[in-house]
Subunit: 351 residues, 2 copies
DNA sequence: CTCTGGCACTCTCACACCCCGAGTGCCAAG
DNA sequence: CTTGGCACTCGGGGTGTGAGAGTGCCAGAG
C-alpha cells in the first residue's frame, strides 16, 4: 500500500487531473489536461504520462474512450503530497465562532451547533461525537427520595454537567438520611475523575467494613449503583444527511440506502471515528479505505477536538470522495479548534 | 371535497382496483379487473364503470394505454368506506408488547422502542412524539449550589421524570439556604400540575410580599426562573428513515431529498402530528392532503396515545401512499394502545 | 531518449425508428 | 344494460446509426 514516487512532471499532471476532476466531475482527457497545465505539453505526451500513472494504479479510465479518473490511491497521493490548502474566508470562521459562542450555554447545544456548522458550510453531512466524560471530575453527589424504595441520585460534574439516575434500593430512606449520604460522599469523592470513583469506592468499602459504619456502606452502594447505570444519551450528532441525497456521485440507490442505514445505526460510524485516534490533526478516509462498506464512494474527514488539553471527541464530515479537500480540510480543522475553545472558556469553568 | 356516493358495483370495482394496485404497484386494466372480481363482468362493462369512476375523480390513467391508478380521492374513499382491516397476527402484538415491556425502564427508551417497532413492522418510517408533560405534577423541588452564583434546580415530577436547570442568580446561596427553599416550595407546590405552578407562584408572591418574607421570595424567583427555561430535548423520535430509500413509489430524487430535509427539520412533521388532535383513533393523511409539500406521494398514518386517560402524544408512520392500509392502520392503532399501557403501569406510578 | 503529430480504433451517448403489447373508447348488436 | 368487436393510442424495448471524445501506437523530428 505504499505510494509510488513520481517525478515532478507526473506529480504536476496528477495534481491537475485530480483538481480538474474534483471541480468538473467528468473524466479528464489528455487534451483538456494539456490546456490546463503550464508545461505546454502536447496531448500525446500527456497520454504517455497518463499511461504510466494508470500502470501505477493512481488513475483509471471508466472505459476506452473516456478520460481518466483518480483511483483511491490517486486521491491518497494527491492529499498526502500534492494538495495545497485553501485559506478559509475569514467570514466563515466568524460564522462558526459566532454560532458556537451563541450556543455555549449548554454542551449538548454546542455539539449540535458544531455539527450543523459542518454540514452547512461543506454542504455535506456533519458529525460530532459527544465529548467523553471520563476525565470529568465529580463536584458533588446528592440523593433525593422518590416514592417507595426509589432514590434519585444526582451527580454534578466539575464542568456543570448533571446526571440523574433513578435507583431502586432495598429499603426506603428518609430525606435526611440521604442528605447525609450525599454530604459524606461528596466530601470524599469531590475532585475525583468519574472513571476512578469506582476504585475509590471499593477501597472505601474495605475500610468501612472494619468500621461497620452501616450508613456509609449504604451510601457507597448507592453511588456504585448510580455509576453503573450508563446514561442513554445519543453519542453521535449527525446533521445534514439530506445533503447527500441527489449528489451525482452517490447515484446508486442501493448504496445510498446502505449509507442512510449506517447513519441510523450510528454505531459503526462512531466506531470509525474512535479509531482515528492516532491522528493529532485532520485525518481522512477515502472511499473504502475505512474498511466500512457503506462509505464506499464517500470520504470521511475527521479531526479530534480537545478540552483542557485532552482529546475528548471527534468531529468531521462525510461527503462524496470527489470533494474539495482543499476547503473541507481546513474547515474541519478550524471547527475542531473552535469547538475546543468553546468548551474551554478561559475565564471560568463551564458553569 | 365531499366524496361521491357509488352504487354497489362501482364500490366493489373501486375496492378491487385499489387493492390490486396496492399489492402490485402497476396500473390496473379492465381485463385484469374482470378476472379478479366475482361479478363476472366483461372487460367492456368494466371499462364503462371505470370511465365513470374517472369522471368522478377517483381514478386516473397515467396515459392512454395504461390501466387505472387511484387518485388521492380514490384512496380517501377506499379508506373511509371500503377498507376491510386485516387482523394483526398475534405474534406481532406479542413482539410489540414484549419490546415495550423490556424498555419500560425509561420513558425515553419507551418512546424510541415504539418508534422502532413501528418502522420495523411496517418497513416504513416510524414517528413518535414525546409525551407532553404539561399535566405532570410536581413532586418536589431541590436546589443545589454550584460554583459562584450558579444554582442547580432539580424538578422531580410525579411520574419520575427529572429535569435539571442551571440558574444564574444574583448572589451566592449556601447549601442549607437552598435546602430550605426546596423544602418550602416542595411543600407548597407538590401535587400541582407544572403548567399551573406559575400561577400559584404569582399568587404566592403577593401574599409573601405583605409578609416581607425575603427567603420565600428568593425561592419563588428561583423556581420561576427554572420553569421558564425550556429544556431542549428532541421532541420527535424518527426511526427507519432509510426504509423509504429506494421505494419505487418515491423514485423522484428531488422529492426524496425534500422528504429527508423534512425529517431533519422535524418541526413541520411535528406540527402536522399535533394538528391531528381531533381524531380519537387512527387518522390518515394521504399524499398532499396534509398540505405539506414534502409528503407528496407519501401517506401519514397517526394515532394519539394516552397516559392516565389524557392524550399526551402522537405516533404513526410515514410511508408511500401505496401502502397496505389494512395492515398498517391496525398496527398503528395497537401500538398506540400498547404504548399507552406501557406508560401507565396499573400497579404503580412510573417510579 | 524524449516529444510530437497522425491515424486507426473503441466506446458511449443521443437520437431516431419501429414494432409489440396492453389497454382504451366507442359503436352497434344482443 | 351488457357485450363483442374494432380502430386507435401510447409507452417500452430493441436496434441502428452517427457524432464526439479519447485512446494507443507508430514513426519521425529534435
Amino acid at each position: 500500500m505504499s505510494l509510488p514516487t513520481l517525478n515532478e512532471r507526473a506529480q504536476h499532471l496528477l495534481k491537475a487531473l485530480v483538481e480538474r476532476y474534483i471541480s468538473e466531475g467528468v473524466p479528464v482527457g489528455s487534451r483538456t489536461l494539456s490546456q490546463a497545465t503550464p508545461f505546454s505539453l502536447s496531448p500525446a505526451t500527456i497520454r504517455n504520462v497518463m499511461a504510466d500513472l494508470e500502470e501505477l494504479g493512481l488513475i483509471h479510465s471508466p472505459h476506452t474512450s473516456a478520460g481518466r479518473v483518480p483511483t483511491i490511491q490517486g486521491y491518497r497521493l494527491f492529499i498526502n503530497q500534492l494538495l495545497t490548502m485553501r485559506n478559509l474566508e475569514s467570514s466563515q470562521v466568524d460564522v462558526i465562532s459566532g454560532e458556537l459562542r451563541q450556543a455555549s450555554g449548554s454542551r449538548q447545544q454546542l455539539i449540535e451547533t458544531a455539527s450543523q456548522m459542518l454540514s452547512h458550510l461543506t454542504r455535506f453531512t456533519g458529525l460530532v461525537t459527544l465529548p467523553r466524560r471520563e476525565h470529568a471530575r465529580l463536584r458533588q453527589i446528592e440523593f433525593i427520595p422518590l416514592s417507595g424504595s426509589r432514590v434519585l441520585a444526582i451527580l454534578v460534574m466539575d464542568d456543570g454537567e448533571v446526571q440523574n439516575r433513578v435507583l431502586t434500593v432495598a429499603r426506603a430512606y428518609s430525606h435526611s438520611e440521604l442528605r447525609q449520604f450525599g454530604a459524606l460522599l461528596s466530601e470524599r469523592l469531590a475532585g475525583q475523575e468519574a472513571s476512578r470513583v469506582r476504585e475509590t469506592l471499593l477501597a472505601e468499602m474495605d475500610t468501612v467494613r472494619s468500621d461497620l459504619n452501616a450508613l456509609m456502606r449504604e451510601a457507597i452502594m448507592l453511588t456504585e449503583q448510580a455509576l453503573v447505570e450508563a446514561p442513554a444519551v445519543p453519542d453521535l450528532v449527525i446533521s445534514g444527511q439530506s445533503n447527500l441525497v441527489g449528489l451525482q456521485d452517490i447515484s446508486n440507490i442501493a448504496r445510498m440506502k446502505r449509507l442512510f442505514e449506517a447513519f441510523e445505526t450510528k454505531r459503526d460510524i462512531l466506531h470509525l471515528l474512535d479509531q482515528s485516534q492516532r491522528a493529532d490533526g485532520v485525518q481522512i478516509f477515502i472511499g473504502g479505505e475505512s474498511g466500512y462498506d457503506p462509505l464506499e464512494e464517500c470520504s470521511l474527514v475527521t479531526a479530534p477536538y480537545r478540552e483542557q488539553g485532552r482529546v475528548v471527541g471527534y468531529l468531521g464530515i462525510i461527503g462524496p470522495t470527489r470533494m474539495h479537500y482543499d476547503q473541507v480540510i481546513p474547515l474541519v480543522d478550524i471547527t475542531a479548534r473552535l469547538l475546543g475553545a468553546a468548551l474551554n472558556p478561559a475565564d471560568e469553568p463551564q458553569y
